[in-house]
């Protein structure tokens, strides 16, 4: 795997990703008016917020999938707001993104999905690629699913395969769009511990969108809450102690909702290849 591009993170900045006075709207719908926030290097930052508050948009802005109307976004010290799509292709190897529903290529098997970025961007031999794919699958607790198609996986497995694919190019920043949504408690804890493990082992900067307050409090080192009239950030402890009525009501409201909602998906019986459909 020596031919694989190695991303060297720039050093010095505490903030690995930074938003400065970002304004973003879709047509007449304004998402961010003047958002400024920072995502510290090597830490897990969880973004909380109600529906339509711009959580996914923030993640897509970091990935350069959408561009802000005004303001500055820096990723690993580089201003990405002025970069063309072609120039973004040189920044994105630093980023791994785990999409909400996996975004795996439906026409490819799981093996091909994971091998795809290596085949595209490295000169690795097929044997090296196979080793890398199986290592990555094992690191997320999966094996013997090479020939399955994405449609044959359960929700929990899809999330784990998506996580494995996001890590294939050894990014230094991991963006996770609702990795815990739609999962039963067992799968939820499994993904949560995987993310924590990856963060501790690789010191990877992570930005995670979540609706789960309890899991956020367990996992996050920083929390960013997107509110209709601005954003609030701090450590989980800071926010729990916050006297800001907006923060208190958001955390209370979300916690009570979480306690009343039943698990969306039950974990299927194990069949020798992890959690199959």
């Amino acid at each position: 795997m020596s031919s694989q591009p190695h991303i060297e993170p720039s050093t010095g900045d505490v903030a690995h990703i930074e938003f400065q006075h970002v304004r973003m709207s879709f047509g007449t719908r304004r998402v961010f008016d003047d958002l400024s926030c920072a995502f510290p290097r090597g830490k897990i930052t969880v973004i909380l917020g109600g529906s339509g508050s711009g959580k996914s948009t923030a993640l897509r802005l970091i990935g350069g999938l959408v561009r802000p109307q005004a303001g500055l976004i820096t990723v690993d010290g580089e201003d990405i707001t002025r970069l063309s799509e072609r120039e973004m292709y040189h920044v994105r190897p630093k980023l791994g993104m785990m999409f909400q529903d996996g975004a795996l290529l439906n026409s490819m098997t799981i093996f091909e999905n994971l091998a795809f970025p290596l085949r595209e961007h490295t000169q690795s031999s097929e044997a090296e690629i196979a080793d890398e794919v199986h290592d990555r699958l094992q690191s997320v607790g999966l094996s013997d699913i090479d020939d399955l198609l994405p449609g044959q996986l359960s929700g929990g497995m899809t999330k784990r395969v998506a996580l494995a694919r996001a890590l294939m190019m050894k990014p230094i920043i991991l963006l996770c769009d609702e990795p815990l949504s739609g999962l039963d408690p067992i799968s939820l804890r499994r993904i949560e511990s995987l993310l924590l493990d990856i963060n501790r082992r690789l010191q990877m900067t992570m930005v995670v969108i979540s609706h789960h307050i309890r899991s956020t409090m367990r996992m996050a080192e920083r929390v960013l809450i997107l509110l209709p009239d601005g954003a609030v950030s701090g450590t989980p402890q800071d926010l729990q102690r916050s006297e800001d009525p907006r923060v208190a009501s958001f955390l209370d409201l979300d916690a009570s909702i979480e306690l009343t909602v039943a698990p969306v998906e039950a974990e299927p019986a194990r069949s020798g290849r992890g959690d199959s459909k």
């Binding site: 897509r60 990935g63 999938l65 799509e85 973004m88 292709y89 040189h90 994105r92 190897p93 980023l95 791994g96 993104m97 999409f99 909400q100 529903d101 975004a103 795996l104 290529l105 439906n106 795809f116 970025p117 595209e120 961007h121 190019m169």
Partner: protein, 257 residues
Amino acid sequence: MNLVRSLGTVTIGFVEELGRLAAFSAHMARCVITPPIRLRPFIEEVFKLGVLSLIIICVCGVAVGAVLGLQGYNTLVTFGATQSLGAVVGLSLVRELGPVLTALLATGRAGSATAAEIGTMVATEQLDGLRMMSVDPVHFVITPKALAMIVVMPLLSALFIVSGLFGGYLVGVHLMGVDPGSYMNSLQSAVDFSDDILGSLLKALVFGVLVGLIATYRGYKSEPTSAGVSAATTSTVVIASVSILIFDYFITALWGV
């Protein structure tokens, strides 16, 4: 005044859309000459768009040829010119019906499927997933589909024409009793290779470009919802069909094909 304003808004919207389509086409043209060459996806698309359309093209070709043979015979018999049936069927199919009907059939079968497939990839964030892996979705997904459409359209059109000639022969010769030698002789003498056959293939090529471009563009720009996919599919069929008929007129008028 409101009417003028509305007309202006519609016109500006139309011109903007044309501009976006032109930029999309230029992007795709760049992708064609930019390595790596996506041979495997291209061959898969040729199979999906071409090979899987063979039956519908053959069946429709035979049916249209049979109707032409029947109508042509009924008209020619009143002038005592049934020996020209081969020329009537051949020229109608080669110059007009072959490329146009093939393009309309391909739009309904393959164009709509292409738009729906790309639209679904947009809705399920598969194309964004590619972008996050620094892979241009236009290069990897869109261009092979559009190129395949351009390549298969003349081939399908040729097959449609051959099937139509066979259908016309079946009805004219075996059902209506036209002399087989007269049928083949009038066909051979009426259809010119450079004027008719090449012109027909050129028409089919232009239609292939139109359908390929419209289907991929509508799918790529679709809203990331199920309603968006549905709208992209419908608009592909409508816009491509209308464009085919309009372009057919201009090609015929300007190039005499």
